[in-house]
């Protein structure tokens, strides 16, 4: 698999990036490699930008990936969209504060309906609240008892939680407690 990082192969991608950036001056964009481009958008313009992308034939939303960066105090949301027409994968990066009450985003489910599911997912695991998505409080993967914890955040102490919830970790020898992960 050739990872042609640069070169003539990415001309087509560059053209797409230029075209989008022309209409969205608030965004930054670059070509990562063949068939991979990425944009960075401020959080409040995300709806405009995704509307623009959808108009430019980026049809399939593949996922919304939240990444927790506790050192920056931010959660990065990466909207990954695939264009069947251009055959290009685009990542739209945006950052929001990671405090629970401030981690809010406008929903994009009216632009990409499937985003509703991804937003529920992000809400369940990262505590990002998407305003306008009425299924936000609907039970998703996690059970009732885990309702107020956000396990995929970096500050979630999993081992401690597991010890508390399931009492013992090792059946065969309880003295064996020097777990290093």
């Amino acid at each position: 698999m050739a990872n042609g990082q640069e070169g003539g192969m990415s001309m087509r991608e560059q053209a797409i990036v230029d075209k989008i950036l022309e209409k969205a001056p608030y965004a930054e964009g670059k070509v990562r490699r063949e068939r991979r481009i990425e944009f960075t958008v401020p959080a409040e313009r995300i709806r405009d930008f995704l509307t623009l992308l959808k108009k430019n034939n980026f049809e399939l939303m593949l996922q919304i990936t939240p990444v927790d960066w506790p050192n920056d105090g931010e959660i990065e949301l990466i909207y990954q969209i695939w264009s069947v027409t251009h055959r290009t994968h685009v990542m739209v990066r945006t950052r929001i504060p990671r405090e629970l009450e401030k981690a809010r985003m406008p929903t994009v489910k009216d632009i990409y309906p499937v985003a509703e599911t991804y937003e529920r997912d992000a809400h369940d695991f990262f505590g990002v609240y998407f305003e306008g998505n009425w299924k936000m409080e609907m039970p998703w993967i996690l059970d009732d008892t885990e309702q107020d914890i956000y396990p995929l955040r970096k500050d979630f102490d999993m081992l401690q939680y597991v010890k508390k919830k399931y009492k013992i970790l090792d059946r065969f020898d309880e003295n064996k407690d020097n777990y290093v992960i």
């Binding site: 609907m138 039970p139 059970d143 009732d144 008892t145 396990p151 999993m158 399931y166 013992i168 970790l169």
Partner: protein
């Protein structure tokens, strides 16, 4: 009144040779159940078949790791089964957590919540290993040592305490009502 104990050996033989499995594959081990049930390994030779209704089932296969959400259903399904009933745990995960030993959403020791007769190693266990486990259960039924259902009755308080500790008191009612607000007719905009 006929003394049914006279027929007990016959009953034991019938129980041994006619283990109906409740069709509830709880984890990844479920993927090895179809090969076991179908032509290649054909468990029906031993009179076993998957049964959709827990009321008719005798054997509960815990096929792999158990999440708390599934465990609730497992407990309810297990209690639906009529006695005598047997439980077999597949693979490493029900025993000691398996590869999910530090996962926040997998049960570590299944025997705290429901009693288990036989456990087999493997991740996932090959069909041959599962069949060996089933043979073991058959032997145990013959010897009368497969008594997990008795244990569940005798130590019900202990099991219930553990279940309540994990899920919180009154989890059955909560689970039953959980979806009510979402099934109501949505008001017009």
């Amino acid at each position: 009144m006929v003394d049914w104990r006279l027929f007990e050996p016959l009953f034991e033989f019938a129980r041994k040779r006619s283990l109906w499995i409740v069709s509830f594959c709880t984890g990844c081990g479920g993927i090895e159940m179809p090969p076991l049930m179908t032509s290649r390994y054909d468990l029906e030779r031993f009179g076993m078949m998957a049964n959709p209704a827990p009321r008719m089932a005798d054997l509960f296969l815990i096929t792999g790791y158990v999440t708390p959400k599934t465990l609730k259903r497992i407990i309810i399904t297990y209690e639906l089964q009529p006695d005598p009933k047997y439980v077999m745990a597949h693979g490493s995960c029900p025993l000691n957590g398996g590869v999910y030993w530090d996962s926040y959403n997998a049960i570590k020791h299944l025997d705290k919540y429901i009693p288990v007769d036989v456990v087999i190693a493997g991740c996932m266990p090959r069909p041959e290993a599962v069949m060996d486990g089933i043979n073991k259960i058959m032997e145990m039924i013959e010897n009368g040592t497969a008594d997990s259902w008795k244990r569940y009755k005798e130590n019900y308080e202990w099991y219930k305490k553990n279940q309540d500790e994990l899920f919180g008191e009154g989890w059955r009612e909560r689970e039953a009502r959980r979806w009510i607000p979402w099934l109501m007719d949505k008001k017009e905009e």
